[in-house]
């Protein structure tokens, strides 16, 4: 639900005010109509209709509002609960006083109207009426007697004389009007004190009918503008002599003027009182109706106003609640519509200020974060493009950051080790133990450190140049460690090659060149002076020159061998069955006095290698073993190959054991350097060349003594062609540790 758009108060107030104004006007008209005001009373019907319609409109409005509110309440719309409470309070506040007023008004109406009337007054008025009636009754009787006295005179009167007789009777009796009716109520004669009057006041049909049946009629009759009169209608007795029709005498007698006036007053007031008494009930009903209508309209209007006001009042609160929720959900751009100049309005304005500032702060934070991200990305790019591996560890030696080159150098995926202690690497990558141990050891140094570490990672033996620094935090305490390491294997190789190349060049120039003149000079000396000397001297000369020549030859051989070593031939890598090559070479050294055991692993895969260089390597190793056993009686060589999986890359391990005296313990580290030998003859380059060839193939060579007697040389050659990611087996781990221990 979106925010409640705050309408102007006037917009909502106008229809409400107009409806209330119409209702007020209709109330006024209603109340005036209920009282006796002519002008309004004619509009009562309309007013009633208008008010009923207003009532229906209000009920509909309240119904709609109530439905909306209940819906909002059930949906848990913000502010709906408070709105419900406010509505209930408003409704109760309006219903209670209105109901009390209504109740007391009804009571007052009942008692007030009833109090106007008094049984005694009613009784006295009835008595007065009866008195008047009795009084008039006496007069009627007297007149009846009078008429009875002279009615006989009309029996024999002819129609022609009737007028005269009537006039006479009129004068004598004091009647105001007399008429004689014949058959079919035909007027036979008419006489009146008013000379202008020509038509008698006729009796009604009932009376005439009654009289025709022989009865007479005496009754009072109010005559317009003339007061009460006594009407007497008598049948005229029929004379036996004449066969005449039945005649009827009608006579109107006035009553005494004073009695007439008094009786008229009694009649008037009695009627008024009786009417009022009757109207009492009607009046009460009408008042009840009007009052109830007014009450219902006021009540419904109040309830509607309660809904209206509560919703108006709650609109800013609802907006605030929604705004707060939006801010909580991270929408900092939320702005609420203004709520006016009251306290809620200030609250809304404060909220808007707050969200604006939060929004600005958020934008700044985002901007900063973006800058940090950019710098971080830049730093990562720089680190990623470095040729050095960079790794940072925290003070607990947990891995924090590692650049991609570090992973390449160490041959492992660091992404799974972030946040983990550096020891964890060894769990899956045992060959890195030396690296990890070195780091752990060296990181305890307070200052910068630098160390060359040799590891046997994927891709073979690697020489790493590690430099570490401990970063001090703001409290001058030991913090994170930065370790930068470079793979200097190739560099060292190149340096070594260059050094030996230089040596070879020097040997060629400085040593080999003078050798030929020395040899030639020695041979010339022998040739020239041999014949001039005696036998003894000649023998000595010959032996000496031969020695010189031999030694020069030996030196030449040595220089040539050295040149061979220093010369870095272009290796031609090709697929090679290592087992087959071992078999061919070893077969050449088969002798009766030599025991040779071959244990070649058939799982050893085809390797990528230069066959002539490997062949030279094998010759050197076998020769070396044979020379070591030259003094021994028991000559035995064991040759083994193993297929090994280490740290995800596969190696072929080659071992050659001899039963010679073994290596002297003190020189173990230098056996693979040139000119280190325990043998009386040889160039001292055999194992150096072996090491060189192994390194050319990315392999590693170690030498160690056997437990009883004899030596073992272990060579590991990587399977470059198929670098398969395979996990370590525990057996392999143990084997590697063991061989490293031996080394």
């Amino acid at each position: 639900m979106g925010p409640v758009v705050e309408k102007k108060w006037s917009a909502g107030l106008m229809p409400m005010a107009s409806l209330l104004a119409i209702l007020l006007v209709s109330f006024y008209v209603l109340s005036n109509a209920t009282e006796n005001t002519e002008g309004f009373s004619n509009m009562y019907g309309w007013m009633l209709l208008i008010n009923m319609a207003g009532l229906l409109v209000l009920v509909a409005l309240i119904g709609v509002n109530l439905f909306k509110l209940v819906k909002q309440y059930r949906q848990g719309v913000a502010g709906s609960r408070l709105t419900v409470r406010l509505v209930i309070v408003f409704v109760v506040l309006s219903v209670i006083p209105v109901s009390i007023v209504y109740y007391f008004s009804l009571q007052f109406l009942q008692r007030g109207v009833d109090s106007w009337f008094d049984v005694r007054i009613e009784k006295s008025l009835e008595d007065a009426l009866q008195l008047s009636q009795v009084s008039l009754d006496l007069r009627q009787r007297a007149l009846g007697k009078e008429v009875s006295g002279f009615i006989d005179r009309l029996s024999d009167v002819t129609d022609a004389n009737a007028g005269l007789v009537l006039s006479d009777l009129l004068d004598r009796s004091g009647a105001v009007e007399m008429s004689l009716l014949g058959k079919n109520n035909r007027i036979i004669a008419f006489s009146s004190v008013d000379p202008g009057k020509v038509v008698p006041l006729r009796s009604n049909e009932d009376v005439l009918m009654q009289v025709r049946h022989g009865n007479h009629y005496v009754g009072l009759e109010p005559i317009k503008d003339a007061g009460i009169h006594v009407r007497l209608v008598y049948p005229v007795p029929v004379s036996s002599s004449a066969d005449t029709e039945l005649r009827i005498l009608q006579a109107l007698f006035p009553i005494d003027q004073r009695v007439n006036k008094l009786a008229g007053n009694v009649q008037q007031y009695f009627t008024v009182y009786k009417k009022l008494n009757y109207l009492r009930g009607q009046l009460k009903n009408s008042f009840l109706l009007t009052l109830s209508l007014v009450l219902l309209l006021s009540l419904f209007a109040a309830i509607w106003v309660a809904f209206f006001s509560a919703q108006r009042l709650m609109a800013p609160v609802r907006n605030l609640a929604e705004g707060t929720r939006a801010v909580a959900e991270g929408d900092y751009d939320k702005q609420l519509p203004s709520a006016g100049h009251h306290e809620l309005g200030f609250l809304v304005n404060s909220f808007n200020d707050m969200t604006r500032k939060i929004s600005q702060a958020s934008a700044q934070a985002q901007d900063s974060q973006h800058q940090i991200e950019t710098q971080r990305a830049y730093l990562e790019a720089v680190l990623g493009n470095l040729s050095s591996g960079v790794m940072t560890l925290d003070h607990e030696l947990k891995i924090r950051t590692v650049n991609s080159v570090a992973g390449k150098i160490l041959g492992l995926d660091f992404s799974e080790y972030f946040g983990m202690p550096v020891d964890e690497i060894i769990q899956a990558h045992a060959p890195l133990k030396r690296f990890v141990d070195s780091i752990k050891l060296l990181s305890e140094k307070p200052d910068q450190w630098e160390e060359e570490i040799i590891i046997f990672a994927r891709g073979g033996r690697k020489v790493l140049m590690c430099r570490g620094t401990t970063l001090m935090d703001e409290h001058e305490q030991s913090g994170d460690h930065v370790i930068v390491f470079d793979d200097i294997t190739t560099l060292i190789q190149a340096q070594r090659d260059a050094a030996w190349g230089e040596v070879a060049r020097r040997l060629a120039h400085e040593i080999k060149n003078p050798l030929t003149p020395i040899q030639l000079s020695a041979e010339r000396l022998q040739f020239k002076f041999e014949r001039k000397m005696d036998d003894h001297d000649a023998k000595i000369l010959k032996r000496s020159t031969e020695t010189i020549v031999q030694q020069v030859e030996a030196m030449k051989e040595m220089v040539n061998a050295f040149t061979d070593y220093a010369r870095a031939p272009q290796t031609e890598m090709q697929k090679l069955d290592f087992n087959k090559l071992i078999y061919e070479v070893s077969e050449m050294y088969k002798m009766p006095e030599l025991k040779m055991h071959r244990d070649l692993d058939k799982r050893a895969p085809i390797i990528q290698a230069d066959s002539s260089r490997l062949r030279q390597l094998l010759h050197n190793l076998v020769k070396n073993a044979l020379e070591a056993m030259s003094a021994s009686e028991q000559k035995e060589i064991n040759i083994r190959t193993r297929c090994m999986d280490e740290s995800g890359c596969r190696f072929v391990e080659f071992c050659i054991e001899d039963k010679g005296p073994g290596f002297p313990e003190e020189d173990m580290a230098q056996y693979f350097e040139p000119y280190v030998t325990t043998k009386s003859k040889g160039t001292g380059l055999g194992l150096a060349i072996v090491k060189k060839i192994v390194e050319e193939h990315g392999g590693m060579v170690t030498a160690s003594n056997l437990v009883d007697h004899g030596a073992v040389i272990i060579i590991r050659l990587p399977v470059i062609a198929s670098q398969q990611e395979e996990s370590f087996s525990e057996e392999d781990d143990r084997r590697i540790e063991k061989s490293e221990g031996n080394a």
């Binding site: 009759e221 109010p222 009417k275 009607q282």
Partner: protein, 191 residues
Amino acid sequence: MFPQKFYFRKAQLLLVLSASVLIGSVLAADSYGLKIYSASTQIQRGFYQLDAQLEYALSQAALDALESGVPLTFELEVDIIQPREWMWDKIISSYDQRYQVAYHALTQQYIVTNLNSGVQNSYSHRKTALLTMGRINNYPLIDFEKVKIRDDYKGRIRISLLINELPAPMRPWTFINAEWSLKSEWFEWDL
């Protein structure tokens, strides 16, 4: 909080409001009402003269009011109309006649007054007074010479009790009480 009587009053009011309309209209069907049995015109002495037979059967409420001294005023409306198919009827001429019936307590007479002419008649019995009011004989309606009557013209007649002529305190109640809704239907005849 409120006395039970209060609720009774409200309930009573609503009950009376609804019940009076419903029950009143049911009762009206057979016991009271203003009816027109016949109406016709004839030309006599240069006039269209009206003869009609009407019935003033008053409801108990009206009778009570009459006996209590409240005069009742009735209106007799006579129209000459030209019926039209697609519109309401065109009124050619219209005549109103008002009668007032009142009870005179002192003389115990029912007085019927023709309010148009002022002629007043007294009757000892109410029934006679109403019956007499219901008989209209030779009432001169239209001057034959003055109004040209076409063949398609029709006459119509209706009688009704004038509530607005009742005392003001009664009126609000009579507006919603069916017993006071005394009005006949239009009765039409060919001229």
